[in-house]
């Protein structure tokens, strides 16, 4: 009897891939590294959307640098950014507007990315950290650190602790009702109400000066951002974006039922926990800078979703559109009633609430992100 030798089946991973055609509407980049070939698919539409959003963000940022009590021409503003030109405008741009812009971009991107992650993992379009009470938890703890309840921790770590606490409570309470329905959201609203009341309690207990120092955290404003918190936020955002990109494939799969995701070989729990941690951390760090402006976390992903195709979860686009919304809302708040400044939290609430109502009331709700 002749023995047959088993040849291993040709594994596509090990072969040069000349004949592979990418799916319509996407580019395929492939390169060889050592023994194996790697390739990534880039969706053309996502690419264009991101570039467009980036351009819009730059435009809004330039506007935000130019407009204000002292109106500058774009040329002057740009000169100011790099330190040339008139010393007054250079001072205004570098010391005041640029920092504010950095805070706006970072908080907007963080809130929005965090919202998008949480919406995806809860499979619920209304489940953003701002709505399910996580922002309020972070705010309560950040205020506690400012008014000094025996802690000497800076607001960012305290905000992280608060957000983690609120998340743990909300998810524990929602454990048996699941995260899909409205009950989860209303549970979150209840948790948020408790933390909101605690914030007010803290504010009422301290002297008026301390309360004033903590006040920005209760309305959401870019006016009183703190340098150290901003550095924390940018670091967190950088890490968060990397992790989010790494997770984006998994997030796409997580929109299906757990069984499907598991069948496709994803470790559902691990993915979900990672996404949750990133989302909560980003929300907390953003709160430590700007206070609860959580509605951005709802508007940003929604804009990105309208622009992008339905195939993937557009994390980068969400972050970009969140940044645009935040910078624009801050600009409107500064200009609307100048010289009074409307806190950005109020602007986003007025713009965002009708939007939320529309999501809630429209005819055939598909509440999957």
């Amino acid at each position: 009897m002749k023995t047959r030798t088993l040849t291993p089946p040709a594994c596509p991973m090990n072969r040069p891939d000349a004949g592979v055609t990418p799916p319509p509407g996407s580019w395929r980049l492939s390169w060889a590294l050592g023994e194996r070939d790697y390739s990534i698919l880039i969706e053309r539409r996502a690419c264009f959307v991101c570039l467009g959003l980036l351009a819009a963000l730059l435009a809004v940022s330039l506007l935000s640098l130019c407009l204000g009590t002292l109106t500058l021409s774009p040329r002057e503003a740009l000169a100011g950014v790099f330190g040339y030109g008139d010393p007054v405008s250079a001072f205004v741009v570098q010391e005041l507007r640029l920092v504010r812009l950095a805070a706006g971009v970072a908080t907007g991107a963080a809130f929005s990315l965090s919202g998008c992650l949480m919406q995806t993992l809860a499979r619920n379009r209304l489940a953003t950290p701002g709505i399910v009470g996580i922002d309020n938890g972070a705010t309560a703890f950040a205020v506690a650190s400012v008014v000094g309840l025996g802690t000497s921790l800076a607001p960012p770590p305290m905000a992280l602790a608060g957000a983690a606490t609120a998340t743990a409570i909300t998810f524990a309470l929602a454990n048996d009702v699941g995260t899909r329905g409205y009950r989860f959201i209303v549970t979150g609203i209840g948790v948020g109400a408790v933390f909101g009341a605690l914030t007010q309690l803290l504010m009422a207990r301290v002297a008026i000066d301390t309360a004033n120092a903590a006040y920005p955290w209760t309305v959401g404003s870019l006016n009183a951002r703190d340098g150290a918190a901003l550095v924390w936020l940018w670091c967190g955002l950088a890490i968060g974006l990397v992790v989010a990109c790494y997770l984006s494939r998994a997030m796409r799969i997580l929109r299906f039922s757990d069984a499907v995701a598991q069948g496709l070989g994803y470790r559902v729990r691990a993915c979900r926990y990672t996404a949750l941690v990133v989302s909560v951390a980003l929300a907390a760090l953003a709160v430590a800078v700007a206070g609860p402006v959580g509605l951005v976390g709802l508007i940003g992903p929604e804009i990105a979703r309208q622009l992008s195709s339905h195939r993937g979860v557009s994390l980068i686009a969400s972050a970009l559109s969140g940044a645009i919304v935040m910078v624009a809302a801050d600009l409107v708040g500064r200009l609307l009633l100048a010289p009074i400044e409307v806190p950005v939290g109020i602007v986003t609430a007025i713009v965002g609430a009708p939007f939320l109502l529309w999501i809630l009331l429209r005819p055939a709700p598909r509440f999957q992100s």
Partner: protein
């Protein structure tokens, strides 16, 4: 009922006895029994007594309004504060102030109009795409509406610093510094609402059995609902005008009352009469004592009590149908 009345009396007396200032329980007690120093007499008679009486009125109004709106919306989670009725009335007052009204004259009717608008808006919303059929969804819509109206109020207050000063202490919800005249001003509205409620209590109980049953018994559901909404708006507007927006009272009180009395709206309404003041007064006492010598907003305490009740109701697997 007797127990409730007794505890109401107890809470009322406690509210007279305890306070943030220097006048201790013993001094206050001697005032109540006819003696006491001038200072203690002043504090008890012109500060704590109005405060307690207003607390009783506000508690009754909010508790009854909560029961009614839950019956109309057929929703155990409906609550004037959560659904944006209080926020509507706060916004109306803010608008009136910005337009140049003085704080003293216009407030009550304006607050009631705002409450009516908020109420009608949220109940209309409940009819869109079956939002009202899902209790939790309605609350969500109401919470969003509340947020929107609250943001608009803050915006108005930012625009107009003068009214901001007048209204700042009012907008957070508190019983501090209210005078007996305020109570007198809202009494007619409360009486009017009371008459209205006595008139619709029977049809409302029938309506609880279902629309068809109510029609079969010769009632007109539309009219009942409309009257009910008017009563709610009058009550909430009056309470908000005096004490500012206070959330969660209208949720907790009917919840407890139903647990004690069962589903009949008439018995529930009777029980809310003592229960509402008990909750408001206890919360007010806490608000005075927790951060003595300063005070904290009443709404904070009610939220701390009410939000867990909200969560508990939401978590109950079978929402009690109304």
């Amino acid at each position: 009922m007797l127990v409730l009345l007794a505890s109401l009396l107890l809470v009322g007396v406690t509210s007279l006895l305890l306070g943030a200032g220097d006048v201790g329980p013993l001094d206050a007690w001697s005032v109540l029994t006819g003696g006491g120093s001038d200072e203690a007499r002043f504090v008890v008679e012109s500060l704590r007594l109005p405060r307690t009486l207003i607390g009783v009125a506000v508690g009754m109004a909010l508790g009854v309004a909560g029961s009614l709106i839950q019956a109309v919306a057929r929703n155990p989670l409906a609550e004037p504060g959560l659904l944006g009725v209080s926020a509507g009335s706060a916004l109306a007052v803010a608008i009136a102030l910005v337009l140049g009204a003085s704080a003293a004259t216009l407030r009550i009717s304006v607050a009631q109009l705002g409450a009516l608008a908020g109420c009608l808006f949220v109940l209309t919303m409940a009819r869109v795409n079956g939002v009202g059929n899902d209790p939790v969804r309605l609350v969500l819509a109401g919470a969003i509406l509340s947020g929107l109206l609250g943001a608009l109020t803050s915006l108005l207050l930012l625009v107009d610093q003068r009214s901001a000063d007048e209204i700042r202490f009012w907008v957070i919800g508190s019983l501090a510094g209210r005078r007996l005249e305020d109570l007198r001003a809202i009494l007619p509205s409360l009486l009017f609402a009371g008459v209205l409620i006595v008139a619709i209590a029977r049809p409302l109980a029938a309506l609880a059995l279902g629309e068809r049953v109510a029609v079969g018994l010769g009632h007109h559901p539309r009219w009942i609902r409309l009257l009910c909404v008017i009563a709610v708006a009058v009550l909430v507007g009056a309470a908000t005008a005096v004490a500012g927006p206070i959330a969660f009272v209208g949720l907790v009180v009917p919840f407890v009352a139903r647990a004690l009395a069962g589903p009949d709206i008439r018995r529930t309404l009777w029980l809310t009469l003592p229960l509402g003041p008990i909750m408001i007064l206890s919360a007010d006492i806490l608000a005075r004592l927790l951060v003595a010598p300063s005070e904290m907003p009443l709404g904070v305490i009610t939220a701390l009590v009410g939000a867990p009740v909200l969560i508990a109701v939401v978590r109950a697997h079978r929402l009690p149908a109304l």
